[in-house]
Symmetry: C2
Subunit: 601 residues, 2 copies
Amino acid sequence: MLSLKTIKIKIAETGIEHFCRRDSFLYDCLRDAGISLPSECGGHGVCGKCKVKVLPTSSLTPPSNAEKRLLTQEELENGIRLACQAKLIRNVEVAILSTIETYNIRLTKETQHCERDPKLIAKTFVISPERLGTSKGILEDLESTLNAQVRSLLVIKTLPQLSKKNEHRGKAIIYNDEILDLLPASSSRKLLGLAIDLGTTTLIGYLDNLENGENLAVSVQLNPQRVWGADIISRISIVMEKSKHLGALQKAVVKAINEMAKELCYKANVSCEDIYRIVVVGNPTMLHILAGVNPSSIAIAPFTPVFLRYLELSAKELGISQVHPACKISLMPHVSSYIGSDVLAGLISSGFLREMRALYVDLGTNGEIVLKAGKQIFATSTAAGPAFEGATIKRGSVAWQGAVDHVWIENGMLRYSVIGEREAETICGSGIVDLIAAALKSGLIDPRGRIVPPRRDGFEAFVREVDGERAVRLSEKVYLTQSDIRKIQLAKAAISTGIRILMEESGVSSDTLKIYIAGIFGTRINIHNAFKIGLLPSTSGENIVQLGNAAGLGARMILHNRNHERLINELRSCITTLELSTDSRFSDAFIENMSFPSENI
Amino acid sequence: MLSLKTIKIKIAETGIEHFCRRDSFLYDCLRDAGISLPSECGGHGVCGKCKVKVLPTSSLTPPSNAEKRLLTQEELENGIRLACQAKLIRNVEVAILSTIETYNIRLTKETQHCERDPKLIAKTFVISPERLGTSKGILEDLESTLNAQVRSLLVIKTLPQLSKKNEHRGKAIIYNDEILDLLPASSSRKLLGLAIDLGTTTLIGYLDNLENGENLAVSVQLNPQRVWGADIISRISIVMEKSKHLGALQKAVVKAINEMAKELCYKANVSCEDIYRIVVVGNPTMLHILAGVNPSSIAIAPFTPVFLRYLELSAKELGISQVHPACKISLMPHVSSYIGSDVLAGLISSGFLREMRALYVDLGTNGEIVLKAGKQIFATSTAAGPAFEGATIKRGSVAWQGAVDHVWIENGMLRYSVIGEREAETICGSGIVDLIAAALKSGLIDPRGRIVPPRRDGFEAFVREVDGERAVRLSEKVYLTQSDIRKIQLAKAAISTGIRILMEESGVSSDTLKIYIAGIFGTRINIHNAFKIGLLPSTSGENIVQLGNAAGLGARMILHNRNHERLINELRSCITTLELSTDSRFSDAFIENMSFPSENI
Ligand code: FES
Ligand code: FES
């Protein structure tokens, strides 16, 4: 039983030792030891985030193909490895490499250019009681000196402790008009903020230095609530079933935020106690659950939310403990039950508001669409569902190792690429869009989405029966069945109909539109194929901007400049929402849009 | 051992039974059973507050003299007894009689006349989500309907629970601009407030109905902090010695407030959960300790307090639990380190502010003095010490059973009355003032305070040696020694010098002054004797108003009308404080005032 033999791992930074089984992945061992390495791919060798440095190099299995692809030759020579790929052979010393990484380079650059005027600042002060005498309190003098108020008893209690040589000298942490904390003048405390994009599927966190606008670390996690259901409606159903589930869902996301804060601070080599503010954007349901407020009314007519407005709470009362005890958490405001603060944050971080005519599409589970026509802004959300995120599709998955991410026609054949350059196991959103486009072009499916009978034109090999259904098949394991295609048609019809109705409402045509695509799936997608299958209105390529995590960038911008918070509050009341489900144009257009475009294949 | 035999007490209201020793006082047994009866005299048969009804009447010792004096014949026939007087003989059933009592009738009447505009109100609301659709939250609609904000997450969380038949209907408890609590429309909850005068020696609490201005109950307790020291300076010294004593002092007063709230609600037969606001007045040191803020800086030059301003806190964070969890506690603002909110509250509740020329004297441990001369108001505090409260005087005590409370000359003899009409044990403040006046008149002491040798004029029997000191002796146990008289001279000089300097400062003479005397000692004192010994500047009797607990009445007025809170805040910045210790006039005048007036004896 050689594989059970115990291997010793020593953490270079702390000197602490842990023991693991031989042949287990280094990533898993470190997690067991309480060290969460960054990961965006769930340990599938795709993201390259789980880099560590090991000594000696011979203590691990040889580099995998993924490691050879994601690491440079120089890195490999220096003992840099991906912890999710390397297995333990013998005792090893591991350095965690708390390098500052950014999820999306573009985001970081942009905020560094944006003007800084943060709500959270530090100011030094000196108070001389001699000058005050008996008729003015130290507290009142502090408040008038700093032009801010103390609201917490804890802060008042620390005031007498700052006295030294007949003076009260220190550093005050000020949030808007409130003095949150008082520190000795000698304190080396930093001022950190956390920006969180709380999505239905993923949780993206940014740790920023509020004194210079710098991003220190980024972390992406799957939303742990997904085990209760993939979309908003299924999570609300769970709460409606039993109200105690609300507590469980809330605890799960709070735990994830705590872990994320810990991980981010570890990566950036800073103290969690230095985090004084959290800004959260997300859809209203996610933010109701985070606040522990029952979201059921969002799912029952008249679909009225409990709150849409900006909420400022104490992180502590939400159970968020991996921050300063006085840390504030701002839940950003929403437009309506289905247009959340994540969309508003995305609008301010993209160039959307500067354009005369622009379309903003978030290709996530909810499919939010916003259209700007001059001074008017219209928004809607479509229950597109998670088909483009690979969920509900038989062989679908998110974009991880083994997933087909691109499909094309080459020499009269369907060809594809697989994430991690290994055998194809599943197909992710971008692969699905490509496969539908290729199948349309090659005549494997007709514009109405029906898989046509094999025609002996070379492509016949790609149509097969699977489980009593016709399917377009790429490989043994990867195919789209007729009912998968129906689901994709429904999702595509929802989004394209939403876009069409907004365009009709505003009288804007697609060729004059700047189109902003937000969301992770939106970053990977082949835009031309998105035009071809009719998901997006066709326009020239240079009119398309693939934003990445626009919502998260917006949240960071709010951290660094109070004007963005004001902007979001103003913006939300300027947006006209359209309810597709009650719009008479919707059902007709929806049926029409179930078909794929035939002209431009 | 008959006296150890166990007697069963059954509480009529609850049916619960307790066991006690035969021959113990009923008052003590009830306290052991967790029932604090009201008491203002500490169980000395003076206040008559500890009334209970017993069945059968033969289960207790026969009525004492105190009971015969304090209870009517009808009451005694109906089994009404004073628990502090009656001892247990056999098994008994006791009804606690939660009658609504008021400490000072005058106070209650006055507030009922004052206009009501409380900061805490209840409003009903109906919200129809149908009207809101998806673009307005229930919370926002509630807030705009009620013109108030929700700041607590707990309140937001209750919002979904109020939904019934597509409507949200309920009652909101609103404090200023904040929605503190939401209740079902059917709730029978009352709106109660607690006014507390937190004195160095006594704690006086009033439970008021904020919906109609009515007082429901009053309670007077000794401040439990007195075991750490009689005056402010000794309590601060204790904290300076070890900072953990601050926590102990704070806990003691918080416990007393909790017990007081429980007792008041029990007496008024209401629920403690209905108390949503507490207003506290007191001197800055007492309020620092209540807030858990170290008051040491008040006792060390430059004597600067940590805070003087109005503080609004959550009762819960102070540890006050016998109230609604959302209950607010307002610590009223002060003028300076030694002129507290109790004085400000007394000024607004008396007629002081309406007079052109008026003097306000609080004859408590700190001896605060305020003088109004037209639009100018001057204030000072004298470290008079607790001599007039009987403390530091060999045979002195507070005004309880067995204390000499009045002394006069009758037929060439000193005569006296004793509280409880029993043998004289001690002498209280009013007795001390009278005895000094009588001793001056009869020549037993000279104007410089020296006890003169016996002169064989009939009074010689009243001068004796006690413990090697000459003393003016009323009875075997009651006398004032030469050093007692020196202490009284010091206290009297402090107060009269304070008054004189304020009068000089403002150019006001005593004959045009309206004089307000606040405090419990001030209520019992013989004003003419106070003139005679030079404690107060002499004026005609109708210019004197003995206010009783003016500070507590002021606190109640703040509960019932937000304008009084505003008034107090304005008032405190209009008052000019004089520091006697640094005033060159003080030491000369003080020495002069050590002597008693000789002209008007
Ligand atoms: S976690 Fe290792 S490459 Fe993604
Ligand atoms: S406690 Fe009984 S008379 Fe005072």
